[in-house]
C-alpha cells in the first residue's frame, strides 16, 4: 500500500497546552482511515494543521511525497485535499446549488475580468459539475433552497457534496455522522464506500464506533496529541492502550 499523506513529528501547542505532540501519521492511498480518540485528543487540530487552516508549531506534512507544510488553504485544496467540518460551515445565505458551484471556483483558469466575457461557457461546465454532485448526494431537488433552510441531515450531505465538488483525491471528514440517525448513517456509510471504490482516499474523525469499525480499513488512535495505536479495526479493538484510553484503567466497564 502506498502512502498518500504523512506527517513527521507534527506538533501544535497553544500556549502551554500541547494539542498535537510529535505525531507521525500515515494515510494510505485508496482506503478509508479512521482517526479516533477521546475528546481533546488532537484530532481536529491535526486536521487543521494538515489542511492549512492552522500552522503547526513543529514537524512537517507530506502529500504525495511533497512537503506541503505551511501552504495556504487554497493551494492545499488545489493539490487535491478537501475537508468538512464538525459544526457545519455552509454558506448559509446561498442556495444549495450555489454552495456547490463555489467549490468549482478554481477549476477554471480564473482571470477576474476575462471571466466576465466567458461566463456562458465556463458557467455551464461549473453547473454541470455541481449538478453532478448534487444528484449523487440526492440534493438535486433541493438545489434552489437556501442552505440554511435545509434539514440538518441534508445540510451535512451538502457539505459533503461541496467538498467533493473540489475534486479531491484525499478527503478529510470531521464527524460526518454526528447528529445523523441510524438510517442516515447507513446511507453515509454506503456513500463513503462508493467514493472509496472509485479511488478516493478518506480520513474520518468519528465517535460513532459502528461507522468507524464498519467502513474503515485502518484506524489510528490518538490520545493527548499522540498516537497510541494503529491497525485494522480488529487490532485496535483489542489493543490494551486503546481500551485504557477509552474506558479508563479499571476494566470493570463492560461495553
Amino acid at each position: 500500500m502506498t502512502t498518500l499523506l504523512s506527517t513527521q513529528g507534527l506538533s501544535r501547542s497553544f500556549g502551554g497546552i500541547v494539542a498535537v505532540n510529535d505525531l507521525n501519521l500515515q494515510i494510505n492511498k485508496g482506503i478509508i482511515t479512521g482517526l479516533i480518540g477521546p475528546n481533546g485528543a488532537g484530532k481536529t487540530t491535526s486536521f487543521n494543521c494538515i489542511t492549512g487552516l492552522d500552522s503547526p508549531t513543529g514537524g512537517r506534512v507530506f502529500f504525495n511525497d511533497r512537503d506541503i507544510t505551511g501552504f495556504s488553504p487554497p493551494r492545499i485544496n488545489r493539490l487535491g485535499i478537501a475537508r468538512t467540518f464538525q459544526n457545519l460551515r455552509l454558506f448559509r445565505d446561498m442556495t444549495v446549488f450555489e454552495n456547490v458551484m463555489v467549490a468549482r471556483h478554481h477549476t477554471s483558469s480564473f482571470s477576474t475580468l476575462l471571466s466576465l466575457l466567458r461566463i456562458n461557457d465556463e458557467e455551464k461546465k461549473i453547473q454541470i459539475a455541481a449538478g453532478h454532485w448534487l444528484e449523487r448526494l440526492g440534493l438535486w431537488t433541493h438545489r434552489d433552497e437556501r442552505a440554511q433552510d435545509l434539514p440538518y441531515g441534508l445540510q451535512k450531505r451538502l457539505e459533503l457534496a461541496r467538498a467533493m465538488a473540489t475534486e479531491p483525491t484525499l478527503l478529510f471528514l470531521d464527524e460526518p455522522a454526528a447528529g445523523l440517525n441510524r438510517t442516515e448513517t447507513e446511507q453515509l456509510m454506503t456513500t463513503l464506500r462508493d467514493f472509496r471504490d472509485e479511488g478516493l482516499s478518506i480520513v474520518i474523525i468519528e465517535h460513532d464506533m459502528h461507522l468507524i469499525m464498519n467502513v474503515c480499513e485502518q484506524i489510528t488512535v490518538l490520545n493527548f496529541g499522540q498516537m497510541i495505536g494503529q491497525g485494522t479495526p480488529k487490532q485496535v479493538r483489542t489493543n490494551p492502550l486503546v481500551i485504557e484510553a477509552y474506558l479508563g484503567k479499571d476494566d470493570h466497564a463492560t461495553r
Binding site: 487552516l53 487554497p74 485544496n77 460551515r89 454558506f91 448559509r92 471556483h105 461566463i119 458557467e123 473540489t166
Partner: protein
C-alpha cells in the same frame, strides 16, 4: 413634489454608488475603508486632467468617456496599492489598526491632492450643453439624466455581477466565511483586491458625475464619503441592496428636508446625521442588515 423626488433620486444615486464602495469592502474585510472618499477624489482629478487635455483634440463627449475610464482606472489602481501597503499587512492586527491606517491615508491623500492640484476648485469645462429639459412640469437637466442613467445602470450591473458570476459568488463566499472559502480553493487575497477595484471604480464614477454639477476640490471626497458612509450604515453595512437603498433614501430625505420641511439649506447636511442617529437607535444593524451572531 415629483420634482423633489427626482432631484433626491439624483443625489441619492451618487451616495449609493459611493456607499457601495464602503459596503463591498466591509463585506469581505469587515472593515470601514475611510480612505474611500479620497481615493475617488484622486480619480476625479485624474479624469479632470485627462478631459481637459483631450478635449482640445477630440470630440468632448468621447473625451469625457475616456476621462471617466481613466478616472475609474486610476482610483482602482490607487485602491489596490493602498490595500497592498496599508491594509493587508494589518489584516490580522486588532481591528482598530487598519481603521487608523485608513484615516491616516485619507489625510495624506487629501493633502497631497491640495499640494499637487492646488486648493482652488476646478471644474469640468461644460462637456455638454446643460440647458434643462421641461417635461410637463418636471425639469430635468441633462446632467441629472446622465447621473441617473449611469448610476442606475451600474447598480443593476453590479447586482447581476454579484448574483450570477463566479467572481460574484466567490465574493459572497469570502464575505460569509472567508476560511471556508479558502478551503474551496478561493484565493481570498485576489477576491479582496478585486473588491477594492470594483468599489473604487464605482466611487470614481460617482465623483466625476457629482463634479459635473459642482466642482473638483481636494476635500471633495470627505463630505461625499461621509454621507455615503452614513447611507451604507442606514441601509445595513455589508449589504449591497442596503447601500443602494440607504443612498437613495438619504438623497430623497435631504432634498425633501430642504424643499418641503423648510430646513435651512445650511443645515441640509444635518439631515443625514439625524437620520443616522434615528437608525442607530431603532435598528443598529441598518434597514436591510441582519444582526446574525456568529456561532463558534
Amino acid at each position: 413634489m415629483l420634482q423633489h423626488l427626482l432631484n433626491g433620486f439624483t443625489v441619492g444615486s451618487i451616495y449609493a454608488l459611493v456607499a457601495l464602495g464602503y459596503t463591498l469592502v466591509y463585506g469581505v474585510l469587515k472593515f470601514i475603508n475611510f480612505a474611500h472618499g479620497d481615493v475617488l477624489m484622486i480619480g476625479t482629478y485624474i479624469a479632470l486632467i485627462v478631459f481637459n487635455f483631450l478635449r482640445t483634440f477630440i470630440e468632448p463627449s468621447i473625451a469625457f468617456i475616456i476621462a471617466i475610464l481613466a478616472g475609474m482606472a486610476s482610483s482602482a489602481l490607487l485602491a489596490v496599492l493602498i490595500e497592498r501597503v496599508a491594509y493587508r499587512p494589518l489584516r490580522h492586527a486588532p481591528r482598530l489598526a487598519p481603521l487608523l491606517s485608513a484615516i491616516g491615508l485619507s489625510v495624506i491623500l487629501s493633502n497631497t491632492a491640495a499640494l499637487i492640484f492646488g486648493t482652488k476648485s476646478q471644474r469640468f469645462e461644460m462637456p455638454f450643453n446643460n440647458t434643462p429639459i421641461h417635461w410637463g412640469n418636471l425639469v430635468v437637466t441633462p446632467y441629472q439624466g446622465l447621473i441617473l442613467l449611469t448610476s442606475l445602470t451600474m447598480m443593476v450591473l453590479l447586482h447581476f455581477f454579484i448574483k450570477m458570476t463566479r467572481t460574484g459568488k466567490a465574493m459572497r463566499a469570502v464575505s460569509e466565511k472567508p476560511m471556508v472559502a479558502q478551503l474551496m480553493g478561493i484565493d481570498t487575497d485576489r477576491i479582496i483586491r478585486f473588491t477594492f477595484i470594483l468599489g473604487s471604480a464605482l466611487g470614481a464614477v460617482a465623483g466625476i458625475l457629482v463634479s459635473l454639477d459642482y466642482k473638483v476640490y481636494p476635500t471633495l471626497g470627505s463630505l461625499i464619503g461621509l454621507k455615503a458612509f452614513i447611507a451604507a450604515v442606514i441601509g445595513g453595512i455589508g449589504n449591497i441592496s442596503g447601500a443602494m437603498l440607504g443612498g437613495i433614501l438619504l438623497g430623497v430625505l435631504e432634498t425633501y428636508g430642504v424643499a418641503v420641511l423648510g430646513i435651512p439649506v445650511g443645515y441640509k447636511d444635518s439631515v443625514a446625521f439625524v437620520l443616522l442617529i434615528i437608525i442607530l437607535l431603532w435598528r443598529p444593524s441598518g434597514i436591510l442588515g441582519s444582526n446574525k451572531r456568529e456561532k463558534i
